[in-house]
Each structure stands twice: as C-alpha cells, then as structure tokens.
C-alpha cells in the first residue's frame, strides 16, 4: 500500500492510495469473515457459511469491494493521524479506475480539512488599559434609580400629570368599530406613547378624579393594522383615580428597606463596590473583544466554507433553543421579523465567519503559547456551569467528543486570557484591592453567581416579552394601555444590590469569559431589539 498526501489551497486534503492485488486479496478474506457473521445463509449457522456460498449470495465483487473499503478506510485513518489532519466531514472516495479481480487498484480520497491559522506578530499587539474609576455621579444615579423603584403610588388630589398613574374607564371608537372598551384600567401617563393610543395622554393630562371627557386623536399612518392606520379615533374617558409617584427619602429607613444595610453610607459603599466589579467585568469583556479583533486581523486564514456552515448551524440551534424557551418556533419568529429562512441564514454568515476566525486564531495562539487544559479543569468548569443553570450534570456522563469540545473551548478561553496579558503587558487583570474589601467582594461574587443562574431565566423572560410586543403590534389594541403599563411598573427589581439588573445579567459570567449565560443574554437582548423594531 502506498499513500501520498497532498494539500490543496482550498483547505482540502487529497490522498492518493495505491493498492496491489495480494493486499486486496487478504483484505477481502477478512471482509468475508466479517460478512459471514452478518448474513444468514440458510443451512448454515452464522459465520459458518463457506466463502463460495456467500459469494453466490452477495456476488464476488461485493466481498472484494468490502475488503477494498476496509483498506482505504485504514489508509485514510493512518494518514489522518500521521499527517495530523483534522477532517471536517466524511471523506469522499474517488476511484481512478473500475475494480477488476486480480488487478491493483488506485483511488483518490478527498476530504475537507481544518487548516490551522497562521498567527501574525501577536506579541506586538497592545491595547490601552481600561479606566476603572467610578465617579460619585454614577453612584448617585444608581441610588436615584433605586429610589424610583422603591417609590409607591400615592393618591393625589390634583389634575393628572405626565408620569402619574391613572385609573380610567376608556372607550375608543374608530368609525363604526369599537376598538377598545376598558374599565378601571390602570396605566402610567407618558408623552411618548406609540401605537394606536398615541396622542391620547395629552388629552388626559389635566383631568381630575371623577371627570369625564371626549376627544379625538389621529391614529398614526404607520400603525400595523391598515384598517385603522391614519383614521380618527374617538375617545370617551372617565377618570377614576389619579396617583402620583412618591419617592422615598434617602434615610436609614430606606437603606433598610432595600436590603441588609444600616444606613445610606453602607448602601453607597455597596453600590460603589458593585459598580467597580461591574466595570471590571465590562472592561474584561471589552478588552477581550479588542484583543480578539487585533488578533484576528493579524492572522492569516484558510477557511473551508464548511466550517462557516457548521458555525451557522450552531448559531441556528442556539437561536432555536432560545426561542423554545419563550415557546416560539423559528417559523413564528421569522414571521414576526418578516424574514425568510434564507435571509436569516444569510445574515448569520458574517458573524459565523468572525466566530470561526476567532476560534481558529485562539486555538493557534494556545498552541503557540503552550496553553493546556486538563480533564479535571474541564470537569470542574462543566459541573459548575450546569449547577448554575439549575441542573447538575456529571462530567463523566459526557462522551469523548463533548469533553473534547469543552476542553477546546476552555483552552481558547485561557488563550484569550493569555493574549490579554500579552497585549496589556501583564497589567491586566488588576491586582485585587486591600484585604478589608473581601466581604463585599464575596457578597458580590455570590450575587454574581445568582445572577448568572437567573441570567438564562431572564433571557427567556426578555425574549418572551419581546414576543409579546411583537404579537401586540398586530393586536386589535384593547390590551395596549395595559401592556405599556406593565412595561413601566414591572421592571425587574434587583434582589439586594443597586446595579441595573439587565446590565448585570449581561455582564454575569463574563469573568469566566464567554460563558453560555453571556451569550444567551446578549442574544436575547438582540432579539428583543429586533422584535421591537
């Protein structure tokens, strides 16, 4: 047997396999023994049928062909190991001539392979260090937000204003049709209302409890339902109650009401700490991105289209899983965003290419920097991640390829850390601050873990909310005030900490680099944005 390996510029490997007859003969003997085990020949026990009987049943060529396949398969496997190839798909065998008994046989095996990226001068990459300072304004801003969240709706004996919560009976007609007829509906007055109810709020402003009013507005031209778009809407509104937002005072009582803090100083300290870790996390992510960008730009690639295709499939699966969490099918999602499946896939191409480039570059970097990840680290990471998402799974329950892919991923993460170290000349991550902060840090960590755990749930919730928004776009509108009301009042309240929730959900797990949680959260945010469009 003679095998020569040739690499083509299209990131494919071409194996020329030459086989002579005695080899084929002996391989077919082995093949016969195996085939005899597989086929049931009447009159013989399995595996005991003579070769002539089997040949009569399957044909002479079939047994030789089986032997040939074995030989080529073997040659291919050895070539892959000896030449250190990473095949991307099953190989394709191209026979050079038709097979004849007693004749040598040549074949060419084509297989797309992964071509490792060639790193540029990665050691020269430098990125500026991020600024970690938190200002008093930022702290105060968070305090103010907390205050808003803690505020209660108190009855107000005055005309309604923008920002007040009102309870009204509301009837909206357009022409002959009654679009909406609501009783005791609560919502918050806003001067930025979109959709079918736009323009309504300014008429309601100034009404007192018990008053009634009729007025008309023009439904916007771009409203989703063409039946009503651009038409007059006639309102009949009776004010039932006006409530104003009463902000709590910033005193010890307030500090205690939001968590286990004795006074405002403690709250501020906690917020400062929170913001600092938050910034560090953001900075970590930004640095990672900047470094990856620099790295991918300086690297040369030879990417087989299959790799990108695979990545698109992965992204598609991720999207589907995310949608599933919000009980949507991909078809519904595509309908809502008005995209064809081809366009949706086409759209993923550039990002998929970027991801492939990133992975290849980091893998190459890991090789160059001799980064290693052993099984234990993989097990630790996996069990921690699954524990965080609520279902503890065992590392040993995974099969070898799953383990390999997790370890490869950890190795890339580590390589990225190493790259950040190179690019910042070892000044990142910053050394931890004085020891007396450890308590708070611990708390923050625990918090972070909890948030990471809830991040997936949050992402799901966000996607669900987005889906609802999409549905409402078409609704016959009766639920719109309630919907917007909900959006204002039911903004998620953080457990004990002051940091804005959605942001921390995104940042959570960024420490441990691109974890599942981060990806899901960002994706969810993206889909939300799309749905809102």
């Amino acid at each position: 047997m003679k095998v020569t390996v040739e690499r083509t510029p299209e990131s494919e490997a071409k194996l020329h396999v030459e086989l002579d007859w005695p080899e084929i003969e002996s391989a077919s003997d082995k093949a016969y023994k195996r085939l005899a085990q597989r086929y049931n020949v009447p009159g013989f026990r399995r595996g005991h049928a003579p070769r002539t009987m089997l040949e009569r049943m399957l044909g002479k060529e079939a047994i030789y062909q089986e032997g040939l396949d074995d030989l080529i398969d073997n040659a291919y496997r050895n070539a892959v190991i000896e030449n250190n190839l990473t095949p991307l798909t099953q190989p394709h065998v191209d026979p050079e001539q038709s097979f004849e008994i007693g004749q040598p046989f040549n074949a060419i095996v084509h297989v797309p392979v992964l071509t490792p990226a060639t790193l540029g001068d990665y050691k020269a990459v430098r990125v500026p260090l991020p600024d970690l300072e938190t200002t008093e304004e930022q702290v105060e801003e968070t305090v103010e937000r907390l205050r808003q969240q803690q505020a209660a709706w108190m009855p107000a004996d005055r005309p309604a204003q923008i920002g007040d919560q009102v309870t009204v009976d509301l009837k909206l007609d357009s022409g002959e049709r009654t679009i909406s007829n609501l009783h005791d509906n609560e919502f918050v007055l806003s001067d930025e209302r979109a959709g079918i109810f736009s323009g309504m709020d300014e008429h309601i402003v100034g009404m007192r409890e018990g008053e009634s009013k009729t007025f008309t507005t023009t439904i916007p031209e771009d409203y989703g339902n063409p039946e009503f778009a651009g038409k007059e809407g006639a309102y009949d509104v009776t004010m039932k109650a006006v409530k104003e937002h009463e902000l709590p005072e910033l005193n010890d009582e307030f500090a205690m009401s939001i968590g286990e803090y004795a006074n405002m100083d403690e709250v501020r300290a906690a917020i400062r700490e929170q913001l600092r870790t938050q910034r560090q996390r953001d900075a970590n992510r930004d640095l990672g991105e900047a470094v990856t960008k620099a790295l991918t730009e300086s690297t040369t690639y030879n990417i087989h289209p299959l790799l990108v295709q695979d990545e698109v499939e992965t992204m598609d699966r991720e999207t589907r899983r995310m949608l599933e969490d919000s009980r949507l099918t991909l078809e519904q999602f595509l309908d809502a965003t008005n995209k064809s499946e081809e366009a949706y896939r086409e759209e993923m191409q550039p990002e998929a290419t970027e991801r492939v480039k990133r992975d290849l570059a980091l893998a190459a970097l890991a090789d160059a920097e001799q980064v290693t990840v052993d099984d234990d680290e993989g097990a630790q990471w996996y069990e921690m991640m699954t524990a965080l998402s609520g279902r503890r799974e065992r590392w040993n329950a995974l099969n070898a390829s799953q383990k390999r892919s997790i370890i490869a991923r950890l190795r890339r993460d580590k390589a990225l850390d190493r790259m950040v170290e190179i690019a910042t000349e070892g000044k990142w991550p910053p050394a931890p601050e004085a020891a007396d902060q450890t308590d708070v840090a611990d708390e923050a960590e625990a918090d972070e873990a909890a948030q990471a755990a809830s991040a997936e749930a949050n992402a799901a919730a966000a996607a669900r909310a987005a889906a609802q928004t999409a549905e409402q776009a078409d609704a016959t509108a009766s639920s719109a005030p309630t919907g917007s009301n909900e959006a204002t009042t039911s903004a998620p309240t953080p457990a004990t900490s002051g940091a804005p929730h959605a942001a921390s959900a995104q940042g959570a797990g960024a420490d441990a680099a691109p974890s599942k949680a981060t990806e899901t959260a960002t994706d969810a945010a993206a889909s939300e944005a799309q749905a809102e469009e």
């Binding site: 009159g43 003579p50 002539t52």
Partner: protein, 105 residues
C-alpha cells in the same frame, strides 16, 4: 417411476458440506452428497438418477424419511394448524476422487 422425477434438489448445509470432504484415516476423500428425493423413490432409482444426471460412479446410497413437522400458529385471526409434508433424504457416496460441481461449496 420416471428417472427425472426421482431427485427433487440437492441440499447444501453445513453438515452436507462437511460430508462432501470426509477423509478416511489413510487420507482418501470419500465424497458424500445429499439430495431431497421423491418419497416413493428407492435406493436403486436414486443410484440410477445420480449416475445419469451427474455422470459419476455411486458406491452407496443411504436414505431416510424426514418427518413433516406440525406447528400451531397463534395469530390475531385465530389459531392455525400447519403441517409440512414428509420427505425423503438421500446421502449418496461417490467413488473416491469424484465430485458434483453443482453442489460443491
């Protein structure tokens, strides 16, 4: 009976293939071939039939009646009784060195 009606078909099974190649302790191959034959055929007729059909010399014929086996089939549509017909098997010993290519495995 007509000579063409005697032999139904040859049998190739693990056992019959083994018997085709039995050797005596002195190393002589004594080939024996197995046939399904007509139930009413006798050893003389079988010898004649084999010798004429395959052009070989027959030394000995052993025959045996094989029972038609009965079996009950339980199906969704009820229980069925099925009986196979009895048949006759003949093991024909040829002169040493001879063979029947059609039945060789």
């Amino acid at each position: 009976m007509e000579i063409t009606e005697v032999i139904k078909h040859g049998l190739i099974t693990e056992k019959s293939v083994m018997q085709q190649n039995t050797t005596t302790p002195t190393g002589v191959v004594i080939p024996r071939y197995t046939f399904a034959v007509a139930l009413e055929a006798n050893k003389h007729e079988i010898r004649m039939a084999v010798e004429h059909m395959f052009g070989v010399k027959v030394l000995r014929v052993n025959t045996m009646r094989m029972p038609g086996k009965a079996q009950n089939l339980r199906t969704r549509k009820g229980i069925f009784h099925k009986e196979e017909r009895p048949w006759k098997k003949a093991i024909v010993t040829l002169a040493p060195g001879q063979s029947i290519a059609e039945l060789q495995a």
